[in-house]
């Protein structure tokens, strides 16, 4: 099952004891603070989980895959995520035990 904001809010209600309203607002605020930091050009480092960083991409040639027409992909700033060593090894452990 895919994890969503509603699932996270339920967890805060059950595990932290926030009321339903606070739990929903807290989840929303969590992601909003991360978005705001990234928007202002600040990277976000969540130890044990991973880092969100910003990369500047310069313009490069692209193509409309449908028509084959050449159109430039404009310069832009994008977010990249790098999983922490802990998250990577948790993933590895799970698959190592299932294979």
């Amino acid at each position: 099952m895919t994890l969503t904001k509603a699932d996270l809010a339920d967890l805060l209600f059950e595990q932290v004891g926030l009321n339903k309203r606070e739990a929903k607002d807290m989840v929303e605020a969590f992601f909003e603070e991360v978005r705001t930091a990234l928007e202002t050009g600040d990277s976000v480092k969540l130890s044990g989980f991973g880092n969100f960083e910003l990369r500047k991409k310069s313009e490069r040639p692209g193509r409309n895959p449908k028509t084959g027409e050449e159109i430039p992909i404009t310069a832009r700033r994008v977010v990249t995520f790098h999983a922490s060593q802990k998250l990577k090894s948790r993933v590895e452990e799970h698959y190592a035990s299932t294979v």
Partner: protein, 94 residues
């Protein structure tokens, strides 16, 4: 921004809660995301982005020191795709 800075910002947003609640909330959110991803389940946060695992097939690599060939086993690596709102806000701010 670090995890403790995030906790402080959230504590300021919720003056009715104690800082400990913000701290426990951040921990609970990150733990749940880690648990889900590590069992191969997706995370979808509308307006923020989605996390999933990408499969890397086994390949023949080389030990850069000795030059000898080594079999690199298949693995799964975490992948993040930014959602539309995050993409637009990060790009338009430049």
């Amino acid at each position: 921004m670090t995890k403790s800075e995030l906790i402080n910002l959230l504590a300021e947003r919720f003056p009715q809660l104690v800082v400990k609640d913000a701290e426990l909330s951040v921990k609970a959110i990150l733990d749940a995301m880690t648990d889900n991803l590590s069992t191969g389940e997706r995370i979808e946060i509308r307006g923020f982005g989605s996390f999933s695992l990408n499969y890397r097939p086994p390949r023949l690599g080389r030990n850069p020191k000795t030059g000898s060939k080594v079999q690199v086993p298949a693995k799964h690596v975490p992948h993040f795709k930014a959602g539309k709102e995050l993409r637009d806000r990060v790009d338009s701010a430049t």
